[in-house]
């Protein structure tokens, strides 16, 4: 008996998963281990692998099998699997290779020059390269839109957050804009009178690492199937069977490495708990960027910065970093919930972070839809920073519209994932709290099972079995509802 079309597809996607394994390990190594001299050879090897993976996914035979498999008798799990295979296939096949190549080239050129241009505050120089990136991204959006029937920006959004659309984002972010600036002011007024002890360093890197490892253990990280290392930009990489998270240490600051580790551990546990028997197929892999971010933010924001969790780990902080008043639980909680509007997104606190994301979303959507041009960015940036955060960015491109890497290589549509993730996380915890009213007391006492069991059952084990909207509906009983996010912020900060 010959293999069914569906079986043929499984074997191709299994092969792709193995190639992806090699790409993931080589990528992790490049960021965490590789000496600088290896960079060119590594770049060439990884590019060769990308070509191979793209060729595998654009083999015309796949199209035939996808069509035939649709006619075969498949159970519900296989149908979901086929749906996700088709999505992967579409991402690789909708765009002509010439556009993919041109965009990669323009993005790489723009990103490379941007590293220096940002330092030099050189917006005009950046524009020279960026216009081409924007032009090609608009072309990409148009082609994806033509093929999918979605709007242009929606077609890009769909790459990172399948099923999401800008009408929905507009509704959600529109709501946030009505209350966020006021809430920020209210919280800042409240915090103005707060006593806050500053922790006295230096904090030895080895001690910070040992603290991080102990916290990872507490959060259930499986060290038999993963590692903690160091890189310039922290990330969660590797493969589901062997998850590699990284952090960075500064000996004058422990806060960033500690909470960064909690954040990456959220990503890691999602990967480590994906259904092992399906993880070689798209349906067994993480749902989306937004859902991935919802895991890291469940860990960092919902759990990690909660007074209960900080009460639980305060003794560990003292054990590894030494006894001082700043490490008392109440003070740690104040440190980790301090609200201060600032220029830089990645340094932002929980409350001001969404303002950074909404600003970027609004600008990038207008760019892709053709409502504004690249030249219009700085004025809009200044206007929105003033309106949302009361921060004056005029003339400061470096800490303004030149701060992020995303637009340099044309990753339009990515930014919303961050705040959608924060909202999903708030909604999960509202759900958990409904059935576990004494959640904080249990967390403070070291019992994290209500959180972990819920995430495991509702998110991790579900992988990509359901579309995002259905996943969230099944998990929480309702569609994405930003009211939970607002209620969470009010409860924590007011």
């Amino acid at each position: 008996m010959s293999a069914s079309a569906y079986q043929q597809l499984e074997s191709v996607f299994t092969r792709l998963y193995r190639y992806q394994h090699l790409a993931a390990i080589a990528g992790w190594d490049q960021a965490a281990m590789m000496p600088p001299g290896g960079n060119d050879a590594r770049g060439a090897a990884m590019a060769e692998l990308s070509v191979l993976m793209h060729a595998t996914l654009t083999d015309p035979q796949l199209n035939t099998w996808l069509a035939s498999a649709g006619q075969e008798e498949l159970d519900a799990a296989q149908q979901a699997s086929l749906r996700e295979m088709r999505r992967s296939w579409q991402h690789a096949n909708l765009l002509p290779a010439s556009l993919v190549e041109a965009k990669a080239l323009a993005g790489s050129r723009c990103e490379h020059a941007w590293r220096e241009q940002r330092k030099a505050n050189d917006w005009q120089g950046f524009l020279q390269n960026f216009r081409e990136v924007l032009r090609l991204s608009r072309e990409e959006a148009q082609l994806l839109s033509d093929a999918s029937g979605k709007g242009r920006y929606d077609a890009l959004l769909d790459k990172y957050e399948p099923g999401m659309n800008s009408a929905e984002v507009e509704r959600i972010f529109g709501d946030v804009k009505t209350w966020l600036p006021g809430l920020i002011r209210q919280v800042m007024d409240k915090q103005a009178g707060e006593q806050l002890l500053t922790a006295q360093g230096p904090f030895a890197v080895d001690s910070q690492r040992a603290l991080g490892v102990e916290i990872m253990g507490l959060l259930g990280f499986d060290f038999d199937a993963g590692r903690l290392d160091v890189s310039v930009h922290p990330f969660c990489g590797g493969v589901a069977e062997d998850v590699r998270i990284t952090t960075r240490y500064r000996d004058d600051d422990f806060m960033q490495s500690m909470m960064g580790i909690v954040h990456e551990t959220g990503h890691a546990r999602y990967e480590q708990r994906l259904p092992r028997e399906l993880v070689h197929l798209p349906v067994g892999q993480a749902r989306s960027m937004g859902i991935h971010e919802s895991q890291s933010l469940s860990f960092e924001m919902q759990l990690g910065r909660s007074p209960a969790f900080l009460q639980l780990i305060a003794p560990l902080v003292k054990k590894h970093l030494g006894e001082q008043g700043a490490f008392d639980a109440a003070n740690l909680a104040r440190m980790y919930t301090r609200v201060r509007p600032g220029f830089i997104r990645v340094d932002a606190d929980e409350l001001t972070y969404p303002a950074h994301v909404i600003l970027r979303y609004e600008i990038e959507r207008a760019l892709i839809e053709g409502d504004i041009e690249a030249e219009d960015i700085p004025a809009l940036w200044d206007e929105k920073m003033t309106a949302y955060l009361g921060v004056d960015t005029r003339g400061n491109y470096r800490d303004g519209c030149l701060q992020d890497i995303h637009w340099t290589d044309g990753s339009f549509g990515y930014f919303p994932s961050y705040t959608l993730g924060a909202m999903y996380a708030a909604q999960y915890f509202a759900t958990i709290r409904r059935s576990v009213p004494d959640l904080d007391a249990r967390i403070a006492a070291g019992d994290l099972t209500p959180v972990m069991d819920w995430l495991d059952a509702n998110i991790w084990s579900q992988a990509s079995r359901w579309e995002t909207a259905e996943l969230v509906q099944r998990a929480t009983g309702e569609a994405l509802n930003p009211a939970h996010f607002r209620a969470h912020l009010q409860a924590r900060y007011l």
Copy 2:
């Protein structure tokens, strides 16, 4: 103008080099970084890559291009390149896939069971699996012999040491056998009266590592293009642009990690100094296993264990491991030249090591030629260990014929490389000493340039441009001549 056949071949071998990069990094990671839970997924990913590389190298198109390129006008460098491409191609194409697969399977089964069988001293159990490995290796040897016109054992030898043949090995090892046992007895008598201070541990792992790193720097290791890490079995891996060496540390012994690092640094510098513009092609890669071993043994045996080098590094040993009499240069030299016949090859000293190799060569050659059967190994082993080293191994399979991994997976033909490497190294240094009479004084004073410049000019930069015999002839002015090895041992040990 369309690409020439030779250019087509270059592009295929460049692609293979990039795949090989991924395999090397994944392999290094598996040995030095990977948590145990990642093993199955890693194994599957690496096997997939092997399949891909084999498919690339057995694409029928290659055969056509190899034939056409032979008709094209090529310069001498390109002709050498084509010769090495043809050799790679032959290794992949001479054997039917069914035999390769059967041998991999039988080898993997035998090797896996051997790990426990060795501990249990279970020769009979080992035989059950080993007979099949031997049968398939004989089949391989026969096919390679039919295709190449070489003898059966020679055909296997050629996999590891191209151009070498057993008549030559026989001549060389036959000579060694006439004087080695006597020399060993003489040296042991001499050393019986020597005073030797034992170093007092513990030796902190961090300190051993710092010592190793400083010695690597002294030996010219380029840390911009490589790393030092830890693995159970030390090795030199990675790629020429990014060489990864490993060692292992014991806190009650510094000798092994220190000299192990010197050894692997020899392999590493060869790789780091291969001609960078050719390293993506077979002609730009290391010549053979024997020549590779001649680099590690130039570093470890010729240089590393010499009184001059130990005089140079004695202050570093004291700096990192603390002041004690055992670290005086003269005592270090006695420690690193102590001769004691023993059971285990990998623990053997410089003088008894060749006896271990000759024994294995004689047995494996007879096995492949069909002169003996697997059952005959233990009796022969006992007989030869008594004759060459005066060691009684009867009934002790664990520390006898079950000690090595090489035969478990059918790597017959590999063992001679070790001692050929030692002989090449002795011949190199005899050559260097002829033009640098004060070599030892210069080494002791920290000037390693006479050694490094000679190796760079004569070996490293030559890569696979010449066949091994011609490489050695050009470098030293004569064919491989074991008299240099004997003279070296006599000079050092008598």
